[in-house]
Symmetry: C2
Subunit: 605 residues, 2 copies
């Protein structure tokens, strides 16, 4: 038997009980939708995943794309799958009807594409980058560029990338050296090298649209001199048909530990005199535009990490339910039959931890998608602004927490399977390898932690920070009225005080000039804040579970339904007992402005 990709019941809970997806249908943009159309989209996601992605999951991993110096080749099933996704409409499910989209709320789109991502994250990667590319163009490029390039990407004829990283600069974008020289026709000539370009070359589409960060000759140093260019693999003729090959070349493929189906490319721009590039928006504002794409990509990364954790959990859960082995410690009778391993307390721990990590992470990401929906479509201006503020504030946490705890969940999935988890007869070792990229790309864990503490907390006189704490406090107040949840609400309130005390200490130190010292342990601050936010998300799930249990008398609930809600409450309890208490040790460290890392000299290492 094949384990389910995702738990359908849990998705319904997430959308309709934890969130209130149905209420969105009262908004004009979603007026044609209802629970049935939502379900149809999700069913399509599952069907495409089961038909095109799940069967090739192992094969994609074992057959890395190859580059013979001229062309990239890969197993043909990848193109079949990307075509199927595009044909299904799930590449751009939330786009306008006018652009061929389904105008789905992002929370529903996220659930539908969650199936795709869980069953074939690397194959889906080609498409999700294309989507982010289109969104960036629509937000910042001229109408002319949008008209030329976005439609063929929406149709799946072209695909897109983001090309930021350079061999000499890495995360230090301030030092990037790719140059752009204005040409007479208003375009630019781009010269430079980029690395780790996902989907940088392939033959899945007729053309590839690179969004490239480069520096116009004479621009200021640092991040204030960076511009964004559209640099295609093939130029277009006036009628939109493919024209000349542009001066953009694949220099080589990287061989990654995971995500092996998606090419990771070293790209060379301008080897033959300069690649034709088109300026997006204004010169020297490229980084801000790229952050549009990057913020979207960061939510995508978090969501990908979460669904990889979810699907690993489902797989190891299925295995644990069917695999007999050993007896309980109290059983000394060798004649008794072995129990299924799910009966062992430590296996329960590993499953419960996975559930707490994966469903907590996914609930957080869906909350982010809801904020994105609200930012665009909430009826009230102030609601839209508040959603935008909260999303901006939470982005480093939505990116990082799933990226840190997703791989931990996948490691536990391996451990549940034991030796079987370490071999490629089962996909859990692949999930573990795939997911390890997520704390690295689109801003490392360390970079997210500095973004949170040095930028997002202080921004707008701490408005985002305060809004976040207020949301949490409101949930605590609500849960305080429920006898089962009240102890958790109290614990979370105490945790909020810990966050505040820690934040005050660190901002005070920064205001006092100890910027580097205060930021030295920013990763611990991110972990602390992340755990509190996920504890909050779990308390909200707990409220929904209690509503489910109380909707009809327990005797009237189907036993499966009761078990489902009990599982939610147990995962909540796990998180509050096993994970949330860790924040005290981190808070002590942070509030003491511990200088252990800061004061370490390079020569001591």
């Amino acid at each position: 038997m094949v384990a389910p990709i995702l738990n359908q019941r849990d998705l319904e809970f997430m959308l309709y009980e934890y969130l209130d997806a149905e209420s969105l249908t009262s908004r004009a943009r979603y007026a044609d939708h209802n629970r049935e159309t939502f379900q149809a989209a999700i069913d399509t996601g599952r069907t495409v995943a089961e038909k095109y992605l799940l069967p090739i999951r192992g094969k994609v991993d074992r057959n890395e794309p190859q580059f013979d110096g001229k062309r990239v080749s890969m197993i043909p099933e990848i193109k079949t799958a990307t075509d199927a996704i595009i044909d299904s409409g799930l590449a751009f499910p939330s786009a306008d009807y006018d652009s061929g989209g389904m105008q789905l709320p992002l929370i529903v789109a996220s659930a539908a594409s969650g199936y795709l991502s869980a069953a074939g994250s690397t194959t889906v990667g080609y498409i999700s980058l294309t989507v982010a590319n289109c969104n960036t163009l629509e937000a910042h490029a001229s109408a002319e560029l949008v008209n030329q390039w976005v439609a063929p990407m929406r149709e799946g004829r072209f695909m897109g990338t983001m090309a930021m990283t350079e061999p000499g600069a890495g995360s230090g974008l301030a030092d990037l050296t790719t140059s752009a020289v204005p040409a007479d026709d208003g375009s630019y000539r781009i010269t430079g090298s980029k690395i780790y370009i996902s989907g940088g070359d392939h033959e899945l589409s007729e053309n590839i649209v690179h969004l490239v960060l480069a520096r116009v000759k004479g621009a200021p140093k640092g991040v204030k001199g960076i511009s964004l260019f559209l640099v295609p693999k093939f130029l277009l003729n006036d009628d939109g048909s493919l024209g000349e090959r542009n001066d953009v070349w694949l220099a080589g493929l990287f061989h990654k530990m995971g995500g092996r189906g998606q090419t990771s490319c070293a790209m060379s721009f301008g080897e033959q005199g300069g690649a034709v590039g088109y300026l997006i928006g204004e010169e020297n504002k490229g980084l801000a535009y790229m952050f549009h794409m990057m913020n979207e990509a960061r939510i995508m990364v978090g969501t990908g990490a979460a669904v990889t954790a979810l699907t690993g959990y489902q797989y190891s859960l299925d295995y644990a339910k069917e695999r007999p082995q050993g007896r309980l410690p109290s059983c000394k009778d060798p004649h008794s039959p072995p129990v299924n391993i799910i009966e062992h307390a430590d296996v329960k721990r590993m499953l419960l931890a996975q559930k707490a990590f994966a469903e907590g992470a996914y609930a957080l990401c869906l909350y982010g998608a809801q904020l994105n929906d609200d930012e665009k479509t909430a009826p009230d201006q102030s609601e839209r602004e508040r959603a935008s503020l909260l999303l901006d504030f939470l982005t480093p946490i939505i990116k990082s927490w799933p990226s840190e705890y997703g791989p931990r969940a996948n490691s536990l999935a391996i451990q549940v399977l034991g030796g079987a988890g370490y071999i490629n007869e089962h996909p859990v070792e692949m999930f573990y390898r795939d997911n390890r990229l997520n704390p690295i790309h689109e801003g490392t864990y360390g970079i997210q932690s500095i973004d949170l503490l040095a930028r997002k907390v202080p921004m707008q006189q701490m408005a985002g920070y305060r809004a976040c704490l207020q949301e949490i406090a409101e949930t605590c107040a609500e849960a305080g009225g429920d006898a089962v949840l009240a102890p958790f609400a109290t614990q979370l309130e105490t945790s909020l005080e810990v966050v505040q005390r820690t934040t005050d200490t660190l901002l005070g130190a920064m205001a006092g000039g100890s910027i580097d010292l205060a930021l030295a342990n920013s990763v611990k601050y991110l972990e602390l804040f992340g755990n509190v936010v996920v504890a909050w998300v779990w308390l909200r799930q707990g409220l929904a579970a209690q509503r489910g249990l109380q909707a009809s008398p327990a005797s009237g609930l189907h036993p499966d339904e009761e078990s489902f809600y009990r599982g939610k409450l147990q995962a909540l309890k796990y998180f509050y007992r096993f994970e949330l208490p860790k924040i005290d040790a981190w808070a002590n460290l942070l509030c003491a402005l511990d200088d252990t890392t800061y004061s370490t000299e390079a020569a001591w290492l």
Copy 2:
């Protein structure tokens, strides 16, 4: 430049400052040795590693052995390397001179073979299993079997395996079904299937000697009916030359996430009527004999995990010292040059954590090797007994702590390199994959935790437990007299009280009949105890570092030496500030007899 495999200065510190390897030369067994002969053995290890293992490290990983249904093929460099190791004498460095060994103390042997294992753990795996196989035979098999089989293994003509796991039983050895039927000639006929047999088939040696757990027909059920057999690939003629092919067959190779150079085999015994097997020792005592091998293997696993962490640390440290990127948060001048990433506080954190994990783990494993030396050669009977007791007690921690923290260190090595850490141009992603096996094989993490809490703590009226705590308390007393170390000594003393309180609570609950509940969180007990033991090992390193700093006035120390000792003290501080405080959360959970995992019903998951 190639990063050093291991830090030579640190090895010297471990052997001569943290431990006192030179004092061993006063024992009769080691009378011919001195610091120069020790160094010669270690130099040999480094030379062989640099010449035969390091150059093929990536190639071994990328070229998994293949099975065409008849023969196993692998890149020939593996045999060249195993032959070189055998020729160097480092396969059996601690064996008697009479058997062709060097009679080296295990702590020195461990340092020498540490180089081999760090540079090529999977290649070395073929040999270390052979060593454990020989040791088990010498301890439990008849003189006749030892004479026939051990010498060719010592010469490298034969290699050995341990064959325990079965498809239907896994860790549940009580349920293994491989059967043994006595034959007229005193041998047995073995029939059954075994999986995950490392080195189960290959052509690196003329013959392969399997130690196989099987059940003699009519034996009791459970672990009390298990016997141990020697089952060779080829039988021997009376003159010791290779005879008939035995009825032992490779059914297939598993494809592992890491450790890819070493075959992992599904073996079939007795497809053609029964494989010839020779009973080792007495019937039904097989598990005890196998534990001889397994205890040795557990220390080996811990040591392997530690050195993989050490070498990953060296690699990422080198990278961080040479890679310029970004500026400190306080620097707003884009004209200033980028700093090397080792200047970033979060990179320091990741390096310091690796140092604390890897050197702490390795110091623990070397202490285990010292106990093994003392068990065999300490002049005093009571000293030998105490060493034996401590080693027995600490084995689950020596196996588990490095296996848990080694992969964490390797994950941090990836993170230091960023995107470069995720691709196979650098070996850190391989270390991460290789090391992930260690919490699984030779008894999973969960099994070790039950071994510790349910067996090792209560054994002999808690004699091992008390001896361990006494050792720790003595170090605390000594360190309490040093102004720099006193605060750490106080913290460790408090931690010892936490261990005692937690242990009393759990043993009380078990005595009261709540066995399954008390054991439900045994993994947290293992983590708690493990962190305290490693904190102790770090305090002992701190004492040695203080001695080093004080040996001559600081002004007289070479700056490199002073930096080395400061680094030790800083890693100690890191461990006490960042890692040791975690035990409080675990102790609270354990002392409350938290039933979250225990009370979780399978249907809730």
